[in-house]
Subunit: 246 residues, 2 copies
Amino acid sequence: MTPSGSFEFEAIGHVKTMFKDKFGIPRQPGLVANAKGVIKLKNTPDLKTALRTLDQFSHLWIVFVFHEHGGKNWKPSIRPPRLGGNVKVGVLASRSPHRPNPIGISAVSIEKIDLEAAGGPEITVGGVDLLDGTPVLDIKPYIPYADSIPDANPGWAAAPITKTPVHFEDEALVDLQLKDADGMQNLKEIIIEVLELDPRPAFQKRKNPPSDPATWKTRYGFAVLDYDVKYEIREDGFWVLQIIDL
Amino acid sequence: MTPSGSFEFEAIGHVKTMFKDKFGIPRQPGLVANAKGVIKLKNTPDLKTALRTLDQFSHLWIVFVFHEHGGKNWKPSIRPPRLGGNVKVGVLASRSPHRPNPIGISAVSIEKIDLEAAGGPEITVGGVDLLDGTPVLDIKPYIPYADSIPDANPGWAAAPITKTPVHFEDEALVDLQLKDADGMQNLKEIIIEVLELDPRPAFQKRKNPPSDPATWKTRYGFAVLDYDVKYEIREDGFWVLQIIDL
């Protein structure tokens, strides 16, 4: 720490998630209940001690770095996908990663704590919205009396989340059956949960909304786990065409 | 940002609060409803733009640095005052400032936003638990659907907060009347709210609990605003003796 108001932090670990690139990531924690992640901490005795009694809590905060968004080129205002990409809001009035300091906070559920995992303690969490490899600066127990304000006014974020129906082509169902045999039983649910939120980048959603006939038949892909999910926009929603190994 | 997992952030502003030293600070936001604070942002056009539409929200997160707690000498476990100072918990299972990366998050209410304040935008917030001068790394709107988990298990933090009765000696009441004339009408409420939570450091609370007759008549002081509040422990609680200008 320097007197100039500049602060340096070293990651205490990282998060392993199924989201291998930015464009499949749910925009808030909890939206994709099936999205499990693992907080992998550095392998030091102190960090292991630091987790003592964390198992008493049901939820924790991950304080992390949006490492794929440099703080150098932050944008003072952004167009949230929730508002259809047409309305500008200040970035500090949003949860966008393009912030002056690209720090995020996510409340997630604690599924399992394994202090003795090889290579360092592991905390399995549910409902993550983080890119694979996200650096972790801190974890904190969720304390409802300090953190939970159910009747807070959500401002423009009150706009309902639109979900687009998701369908599967026969070929995709065969692909799923094969993955199923590999032990990925909930892959279909994960794909639906991610896809119905329309994981495309904001500018693309704005330019090519699913409702616009000019967009139909356009093909896209997104990465989840080790798979590339190929899909296409049609009149009645997203159609999954193929699930290919990456 | 460096590939080694080390990240540098520059404060975007600081928080002005009534808490001039560490020992009068409520241990969580919201506990002292009268504790207003002002987030003072740097005077740049970009930061002003970045606040656009924040006035639609009722609450915000302050992401800040515990700047009086160096990250170098963090402690893997601490003894929370809530548990009487006898039980050790891991620091990552606590909200203690003595963390590997001394970053805090506080949910506070938005009272007023003044974009045109001299020297930079100001956000007046309610329920702060921060030391005066606390560096701010980020502010984010509070979004209940992502942030509010009312039924989260609070683990060991479920222990009820003990409050000690607060009384005022005549001399202190005269002091209050004088400050009242200076325009500090709610100074008495602030002192009660801070003092009933026993603002002494944990080791002192542990060594000298208010219930222990050996502690009675011991005098203490804490700083709030520009005042030094002198008080004494007696059988029936804390007695405020004097309120002195600092």
